[in-house]
Amino acid sequence: MKTNIILAGVGGQGILSIAAVLGAASLKNKYYLKQAETHGMSQRGGAVVSHLRISDKPIHSDLIPMGKADIILSVEPMESLRYLPFLKPHGYLVTNNVPYKNIPNYPEMDKLQAEIDKLKRKVTINADGIAKEIGNLRASNMVMLGAASNFIEVPSKKIEEGIAEIFRSKGAAIIQLNIEAFRKGKTTAKTTP
């Protein structure tokens, strides 16, 4: 078992929570894990990326080699494309389709969608919309994790335990909300062609 995941987004969008949940879940499954994060300057609204590697064997590099990522999991559409050089030829691109526009020259959404559509295996969902329906926009990162979980070889039960662990200090209601977001993301992605 070996899964390489590129987590992409904009500083402040919560990709580190996704990484933390998957990290906790992998540890529960007795997998090895390496997870390189972006700290510092870029967290101020810049492009951020995390390299997450899960394996049943020891892992050497903290960075995923180019062309070796099984999944790009992005909480922002343009950011999903920034790391394409890391994606395997038949890897999955799973992204939120709601743009985060904090730059003046943000490209047109249909052009971004056209680039995404060139890929064989992709899932784009409106994670913000789903999160709002559930009751909290901030849970959109867990919607995205749910969408990608269909392609991650860590049992969903373990991921849900990971959510419970990472959000423990925030109380039972927040845990439940995030688990719901995760489940909704999972089913939505399954039904999206």
Binding site: R44, G45, G46, S61, F86, K170
Partner: protein, 534 residues
């Protein structure tokens, strides 16, 4: 044994707690900050009352640690690479004084400059100081190596430099914790009560002692388990890997073992016998190291008569920037997965000031006040407010080293530039701006110093600032005329007021200090969240 998912930095923090430190001394700086934060938040730190408040800068941090070591206790000092420039005077001289309690200096280098002004390599400082350097290759090794570093420091009675780079600092992996922990040392005097008095007569003796210890440091490296030779079947090439470089090499050999002999280096000075062994067995050597080609330069053959040494200097690897598995694959001419490249439509997304940040209001007012004078009059410094260099503000003309804005504005005013202004953050000001302000006051320089006070060290994650609540009294104490210390709340509604304050102080011939003060909005939100939780 419990396995915890820790950043390299957190592993170092935990290692230091378990190694029995009595204090951690540090000034924040990416990528080193989480070491100290981890210790500060750890229950054992409170239980043992480990000294753990942030220092005003890296020099005061290092000196605090040296004092603790003088008194017999173990101290950890942490900083980013450029911080060691600030602490260098204390650091280099402490290798003459030697230590009593263990003293370990962790420096986090930032190759590729993810969050830094340069990518200098701290191993140069270690070599310059002539003391042992340790460089871990993984989070687990980092954890264990801290304890080793303190033992080493106490056995040789010198500080030990512990060097990491961004990728290890900011990457998580499972770390299993040792069951056995060291107790803290008790108070004791150094063996010689004059060894810290570096008067020339004593300093000469201490230098001789340091020189005489070099053979011992070399032997320690040769016998260190952190320096490992792995044989290989193909002797056309030998590979020397420092620190985390080994991971990028082995990533290319997950299916079959690396055919070449490998020397992994984790303790310096470089182990002479092992280096000579791999050189004698192989036709060429490839040196793989994060940062500058420090080891490569040492081994490179100036006159070109010896064996070929490959690495960053001959172009086998790029001269600058951090390493990656792909760069190693390139160097070894291994096949790499094809990749489609980044679609052209993707644009850059640089960091930017948060919406609602007080620095923005300050820059809006500054730009308006300076309109008649044009561009080129504002020296600045390092912090969130440096983002004022980017559009839409483009307000500042320098960012060099902590505190330089004040002194550069003074120097430019000395040269005749008018108006000459500085924009500096509150923490940067107490780090290194205060002394420059004293120069300006003593010279009656015609400058306007804007201390953009967000009551937080925000760029590095919002640590407490030493400056909070003190700026006005510091400036008065330094001798700025109280009539020209102007405090204002940087807010949209105060825009016109700020513009006129700046204009008035430009008109004043002398040192003016303007202090726009409003708490960082991220800090306000964080404190609110913390309050709600408790």
């Amino acid at each position: 044994m419990s396995v915890k998912l820790l950043l390299g930095n957190e592993a170092i923090g935990l290692g230091a707690i378990d190694a029995g430190i009595s204090g951690v001394y540090a000034y924040p700086g990416t990528p080193s900050t989480e070491i100290t934060e981890y210790i500060q938040a750890h229950p054992l730190a409170a239980e043992r009352n480990i000294q753990r408040k942030w220092s005003a800068n890296e020099k005061t941090a290092y000196e605090g640690a040296l004092g603790m070591s003088y008194a017999g206790k173990r101290a950890l000092v942490c900083m980013k690479h450029v911080g060691l420039n600030v602490a260098a005077d204390a650091f280099i001289n402490s290798t003459f004084t030697g230590v009593n309690g263990g003293l370990v200096l962790v420096v986090a280098d930032d190759p590729s400059m993810h969050s830094s002004q340069n990518e200098q390599d701290s191993r140069f400082y270690g070599k310059f100081a002539m003391i042992p350097i340790l460089e871990p290759s993984s989070q687990q090794e980092a954890y264990e190596m801290v304890k080793f570093a303190f033992d080493l420091s106490e056995s040789i009675q010198y500080p030990v430099l512990f060097r990491i780079t961004t990728r290890l600092a900011h990457s998580r992996a499972g770390v299993s914790r040792d069951e056995k922990h060291r107790k803290e040392n008790s108070l004791s005097f150094p063996p010689d009560l004059r060894q810290f008095v570096l008067l020339p007569a004593i300093a000469r003796k201490r230098y001789e002692l340091l020189l005489n210890n070099q053979d011992k440091f070399q032997k320690l490296s040769e016998n260190s388990s952190y320096n490992q030779y792995t044989p290989g079947s193909d002797h056309s090439l030998g590979i020397v890997c420092c620190g985390i470089a080994i991971n990028y090499l082995l990533e290319n050999y997950t299916e079959k073992p690396c055919p070449y002999p490998i020397l992994k280096i984790g303790q310096y000075p470089i182990p002479e016998k092992l280096v000579k062994k791999i050189e004698s067995e192989c036709d060429e050597l490839l040196i793989v190291e994060e940062g500058y080609p420090v080891v490569e330069e040492m081994l490179s053959d100036y006159f070109g008569k010896g064996k070929r040494i490959r690495g960053r200097l001959d172009g086998t690897l790029p001269r600058a920037g951090e390493l990656s598995p792909g760069l190693l694959a390139n160097a070894l001419q291994l096949e790499q997965a094809k990749n489609p490249g980044i679609p052209e439509i993707v644009t850059n997304r640089p960091p930017s000031l948060c919406t609602g940040c007080g620095h923005q209001d300050m820059y809006k007012a500054l730009n308006e006040a300076l309109k008649p004078w044009g561009d080129g009059h504002v020296f600045s410094d390092i912090g969130c407010y440096t983002l004022g260099a980017l559009p839409p503000y483009r307000s500042i003309n320098s960012c060099v080293d902590m505190g330089a804005s004040v002194t550069m504005a003074k120097g430019a005013a000395d040269a005749g530039l008018f108006p000459s202004l500085a924009v500096i953050g509150d923490s940067t000001f107490t780090h290194s701006g205060m002394t420059g302000l004293l120069d300006a006051v003593n010279d009656g320089s015609n400058v306007v110093i804007i201390i953009s006070d967000n009551q937080s060290v925000s760029m590095t994650g919002g640590q407490d600032s030493s400056a909070t609540g003190r700026l006005d009294s510091i400036c008065k104490g330094i001798g700025v005329d109280p009539a020209h210390i102007r405090t204002v709340v940087p807010h949209r509604k105060n825009h016109d007021k700020m513009v006129s304050i700046i204009k008035e102080e430009i008109d004043y011939k002398g040192v003016s200090v303007i202090i726009p003060t409003r708490e960082c909005i991220q800090r306000t939100a964080r404190l609110k969240r913390a309050k709600r939780k408790s």
